[in-house]
């Protein structure tokens, strides 16, 4: 038994959760799937006075099709989303990224909302949310607001959630027939944390030229970042090998990664270029490229 003592509550409704959140101030943590929070509790990196377990709130686990968007309740298990035909069809980039989130045992229990609200800088779904311009639906007692992904992730493990607020659901825009997407990451182990990952969401016109590109990188900063310089090159239309190569190089120049024991700055830049190329090619031809 490693965690410090805490008071545990497991309400069965979201209204009770929000009421408790409002009353307990900031010394409280919400427990979703626990696959990131419980290690931190075991290591006593966090020692909240109160833990509110969302696991009994059945109403928070859902996948709905609403006005061209796939709305994912915060407690939807990652494995449920990964295996959902609605996700695979409506939000293929999300479906492509989900298998990278951890081992099967973690994805069986981890939640879509949990990993987004935890906002680890090496988590995959924040990059996916950024690439898709997803919206995060945030609730507090008697109030709801919608936050664009670009405004939600502030730093490593830090979001724009305020005291008393919780992530209720995530609205992922559904992919139309002109959407092409891919996700790729490279890590030092197959299922360890990634070093760098790229989520790529493209829109093509009827000639197969690129009409819009949204690329998000993880592992090159405290939050996922959009790769505007690379997007602009791709949006000139051509997705020739030279154009994609130039986009990768532009992305590598634009990012500002740091050194750590896992990888050097140079390696992270190199991976950024490689993974931009790999995801754009995969998005366009639907086949996974061998590691460069």
């Amino acid at each position: 038994m490693k965690p410090a003592p805490f008071e545990y509550v497991a309400p069965e409704s979201e209204a009770e959760v929000l009421d408790l959140l409002g009353r307990h101030g900031d010394d409280v943590r919400l427990l979703a799937g626990g696959q990131s929070l419980v290690p931190m509790l075991n290591l006593r990196i966090v020692q909240p006075a109160v833990i509110i377990d969302l696991g009994r709130c059945a109403s928070l686990a859902y996948l709905n099709d609403e006005n061209g968007a796939l709305v994912c309740g915060t407690m939807t298990r990652q494995i449920t989303a990964e295996r959902s035909p609605d996700v695979r069809q409506g939000c293929p980039l999300l479906a492509a990224a989900l298998p990278y989130l951890g081992g099967k045992a973690h994805r069986n229990r981890g939640t879509v909302g949990g990993t987004l609200a935890h906002a680890d800088r090496l988590a995959e779904l924040p990059a996916v949310a950024l690439a898709l311009d997803a919206e995060l639906i945030v609730r507090s007692e008697g109030a709801e607001r919608t936050v664009a992904a670009v405004d939600f992730f502030l730093s490593d493990l830090t979001t724009s959630l305020e005291e008393g607020e919780m992530l209720h659901a995530i609205r992922f825009p559904k992919a139309g027939t002109t959407a092409r997407s891919a996700f790729a990451e490279v890590g030092n182990r197959r299922h360890g944390f990634a070093v760098v990952g790229i989520a790529a969401a493209l829109e093509v016109d009827s000639d197969g030229a690129c009409a819009q590109a949204r690329l998000a990188a993880m592992g090159v900063g405290a939050t996922p970042v959009r790769l505007a310089a690379a997007e602009q090159i791709l949006e000139q239309g051509s997705l020739s090998a030279d154009a994609v190569c130039a986009a990768g190089d532009a992305a590598a120049q634009a990012v500002d990664p740091t050194d750590d024991i896992h990888a050097s700055v140079a390696y992270r830049r190199r991976l950024t270029a490689t993974l931009v190329q790999r995801t754009v090619h995969e998005a366009m031809d639907g086949t996974r490229r061998a590691a460069a």
Binding site: M1, K2, P3, A4, P5, F6, E7, Y8, A10, L31, G34, Q35, V38, P39, L41, N42, L43, A49, I51, D53, G55, I79, G102, G103, K104, A105, H106, N108, R109, R189, R190, H191
Partner: protein, 162 residues
């Protein structure tokens, strides 16, 4: 409620159990210390090594990453429960005959992970076996014999569990 205990009811290997524990009591500690089911091993206590893997409502889960109170009402299967009579399951027998364990510390987690793997994919190829076991760490064997054992178990028990 800090420092207090809560009542936790679980179904473990088919038997209903009830104990009073602190909310911070991890499922793995509940199994080992309260129930004496010491086949579930504690390795890293941060979800990485897989030694504490159990089946939670039928699917693999890290018992070090759940509080007992959090999973109250669930069904848990530990290594002691993979067969009803204590004999070796086909997976365990394949681990034995292929020398897929040395110290054995990781083995319960590997066996339960394999139960789920073969249920979802009864005929995995070697790459799928390696992928399926990638989140369980073995420090003795180098994995070669574990892969062989899982392949043999798959060929011995198409579509069956255990």
């Amino acid at each position: 409620m800090s420092g207090g205990t809560v009542e936790v009811r679980l179904t473990v290997n088919g038997a209903d159990v009830v104990r009073r524990v602190e909310p911070r009591y991890l499922l793995v500690d509940f199994l080992r210390h309260e129930l004496g089911l010491t086949g579930t091993h504690i390795g890293c206590e941060q979800g990485v090594c897989g030694a504490c893997t159990v089946l939670l409502d039928g699917v693999t889960a890290r018992s070090c990453l759940h509080f007992a109170v959090q999973v109250a009402g669930s069904e848990v299967t530990t290594i002691e429960g993979v067969t009803a009579d204590g004999t070796l399951s086909p997976i365990q027998a394949a681990f034995h005959s292929n020398h897929a364990l040395q110290c054995g510390y990781c083995t319960p987690g590997f066996v339960l992970t394999t139960v789920e793997l073969l249920r979802e994919n009864p005929t995995p190829d070697e790459a799928e076996i390696r992928q399926g076991l990638t989140n369980n760490i073995c420090r003795c064997t180098g994995y070669v014999n574990i892969i062989k054992a899982v392949a043999e178990a798959a060929s011995n028990m198409p579509g069956r569990e255990g």
